[in-house]
């Protein structure tokens, strides 16, 4: 088993190093895109950045599964028995996300209350710092954080 593994591909330590660097670089690019997106307001621009992030995410997933989990160096039979069922996700994602999207459009068209609710601006309450929301459930704990 181990013999056939080492023959199949070169120095495993070099491969681990290479994949580590690739994963780190991809993560850093993702984070840079995430920071960049904070300032982007146009809908199309945000969508483009989000699409890029998703592609980078899939690339990271590929490197983890293929090299860290060693799937790339397994027999094709094993690869197929894992990868083919997971292809169902392509359909799940397409079907469910477009269904959610269509549900939103339908509600915006036919449910005036839903539409109205999502246009009323509310005040950005200072709940971010442990006042508003926390009071209801755990007033004592919220007071503690205030002291800190």
């Amino acid at each position: 088993m181990s013999n056939h593994d080492t023959h199949e591909h070169g120095d495993p330590i070099a491969e681990i190093k290479k994949v580590t660097i690739i994963l780190s670089v991809l993560t850093i690019i993702e984070l840079i895109l995430g920071f960049w997106m904070i300032g982007v307001t146009s809908e199309g621009g945000r969508l483009a950045i989000k699409g890029t992030i998703v592609i980078l995410m899939l690339a990271k997933a590929f490197y983890i599964v293929a090299y860290f989990m060693h799937l790339k160096h397994e027999l094709k039979n094993l690869i197929m028995t894992i990868v083919v069922p997971l292809a169902l996700f392509i359909w799940f994602i397409t079907a469910f996300l477009s269904d959610g999207n269509s549900f939103r459009n339908l509600r915006n068209t036919y449910d005036p209350h839903f539409k109205a609710q999502s246009t009323i601006k509310v005040e950005a309450k200072e709940a971010h710092h442990g006042e508003e929301g926390a009071k209801e459930a755990t007033p004592a704990k919220a007071a503690e954080t205030e002291k800190k």
């Binding site: 989000k50 469910f96 755990t138």
Partner: protein, 228 residues
């Protein structure tokens, strides 16, 4: 031919050779199938989250929600900083796990022990980070059924955001916790020479598969909740 078909009902063991179809041991194949089923569970969670998010007009801005880190002051505005640290902790612990598996293949007990310890430390560090973040969000008033954060466009939000966040990161955190427990058991078994006696470190490979899967899921959870 008729012999074979009639005999197959009585003697199930009529096939006894040929090439091994997968060329990995039974436990590893089963670990792969378990991970595949687990991938469907996580996938279902994340797709449910995506569907609900697509069906609502507004959603809280993650850069507003996750903008603090430990020992930071009240007005800190550092989006993505803490979660990027968590991400790197998990990636690095995955790397040390690969190194442990590699050391196991070389029958290098010391290497296995050293890298398993690093992996366990990484797992515990990640869990501590998550515990801090949950605690911090809870103090801000976020929990299942409670959402203090308004939508990015300034409209009132529902509790969907916090419900999905705590359920999915909680389920992932539970996997990390199980992974740490499994890794500790593997470390003890290595230290007590169980694998040396068996003559192989295949158990470390199976624990490694599980640990990488936990890292893999975090790649998706991190992207879906903190970046998108």
């Amino acid at each position: 031919m008729s012999n074979v078909t009639t005999a197959s009902t009585k003697e199930a063991k009529w096939w006894n050779g040929g090439k091994s179809p997968f060329d990995v041991e039974y436990g590893k194949v089963m670990m792969w199938y378990f991970l595949m089923s687990d991938a469907f569970t996580f996938g279902a969670f994340l797709i449910a989250y995506g569907t609900v998010r697509f069906s609502t007009n507004g959603w809280p801005n993650p850069n507003e929600v996750f903008k603090s880190y430990p020992f930071a002051g009240e007005g800190t505005n550092a989006p993505l900083v803490f979660v990027s640290i968590m991400t790197f902790i998990l990636i690095i612990s995955s790397v040390t796990m690969v190194l442990a598996v590699h050391a196991g293949k070389m029958m290098d007990k010391k290497g296995v022990v050293r890298n398993m310890i690093f992996t366990i430390i990484g797992g515990i560090a990640f869990l501590s980070c998550q515990a801090w973040e949950w605690n911090h969000l809870h103090h801000e008033g976020a929990w299942w059924g409670m959402n203090p954060f308004i939508n990015a466009d300034g409209t009132a939000s529902s509790t969907n955001f916090t419900n999905f966040f705590f359920t999915i990161t909680g389920f992932h955190g539970f996997h990390v916790f199980s992974g740490v427990v499994i890794n500790i058991i593997m470390l003890i078994m290595t230290l007590t020479n169980q694998f040396e006696k068996r003559g192989h470190y295949l158990m470390i490979e199976k624990a490694g598969l599980y640990w990488h899967f936990v890292d893999l899921v975090w790649v998706f959870v991190f992207t879906c909740f903190y970046l998108l």
